[in-house]
Symmetry: C2
Subunit: 198 residues, 2 copies
């Protein structure tokens, strides 16, 4: 059979674990849950990562690098609709490659409470920073729109992951998230009847 290398297997484990952490939080996610999601026994999983806490740390590290990569690609652009579109694209692409990690990256934005994985670092701010949002000072509408767009992305990421629509949905997901940000297009504001084709 195909022989995926150790690193690939481990990264797969980390992504699944991150998806579970994003959905249920760390405390509510049991090692057995992760093992089931990966298709291993609990002992088999703990052979890859020696403890649940080691798993958590590895996930945090992985999320951190993803966040950094996203920020690096976006930071140099001036704020505005163009940057927003590009940022969405970057995040969506990341979500395509690592759905769970991105879901976990977005999770703090959506939860605001108990899902803390690491207290010291705050990579969650990274994704808001990519959109130039500081909850304290930014205008409420902008905050709502960015959170909404990220929420849509998170939900769609997980939904597409459970099905196998990740690649098929990509363009629609990006368009949906961008539209949620509400950048008015000059003209063409009239709602046209959008018929549904089978």
């Amino acid at each position: 059979m195909a022989r995926p290398f150790r690193q690939q297997i481990d990264e797969g484990i980390l992504d699944r674990a991150a998806a579970l952490f994003a959905r249920q939080g760390f405390a509510k996610t049991s090692v057995q849950d992760i093992a089931d999601a990966v298709g291993l026994s609990k002992a088999g999983l703990l052979h890859h990562f020696p403890s649940k806490d080691a798993l958590r740390e590895a996930v945090v590290a992985q999320v951190g690098t993803v966040a950094q990569r996203v920020l690096d690609e976006v930071r140099h652009l001036p704020f505005g609709a163009e940057r927003d579109r590009f940022a969405i694209d970057v995040v969506v692409d990341s979500a395509l490659a690592h759905p769970g990690l991105v879901a976990l990256l977005i999770a703090p934005v959506t939860r605001a409470d108990g899902g803390a994985l690491a207290e010291d670092v705050s990579p969650e701010i990274a994704v808001l920073e990519a959109f130039g949002v500081d909850p304290a000072t930014t205008a409420p509408e902008r905050v709502v729109r960015v959170i909404g767009a990220l929420g849509a992305l998170a939900v769609l990421t997980l939904a597409a992951q459970t099905d196998d629509q990740t690649t098929a949905w990509r363009a629609h997901v990006a368009a949906t998230c961008f539209d949620a940000l509400g950048h008015r297009r000059p003209g063409a504001a009239l709602p046209s009847p959008d018929q549904v084709e089978a």
Copy 2:
């Protein structure tokens, strides 16, 4: 102090419980969690609802009535942008009144897997039905957009709930969700699905 009647207290409990079920799933939500969220002891909570399962049934019933109410208000309208806008408004208003219940109503759309509260009934389809979506036959873009809009709503509902911005955010939330549905379409706005291969 204020003397809220029994029914009001119980409805508050049900809404909080529904919010937890939506976030963590039924199995992962302990009675203690709900008690903490409501501000009661575990025994005190079980004085209102005799068992966790009774709590679940009551929540399911409550969600069912909310779903029915939403559907009744929307069903008579013809499909199209206008109906979408109205449906969003109705759902957002419901979410304002019962954040947890609506979050749970939307949850099945976002999760697609383990969060089943009741196997027999499927009130989750109700909210999709309000938007005229059947995942099997509807065009993928429409499916993505509706799921995305509902995801944004779910996230924003919970986020606004943890803060106290529910009323302040209402208009922005509705606008964000409606925009996510993508109705003003200038045709060329969608990014062409070029290279996705990594």
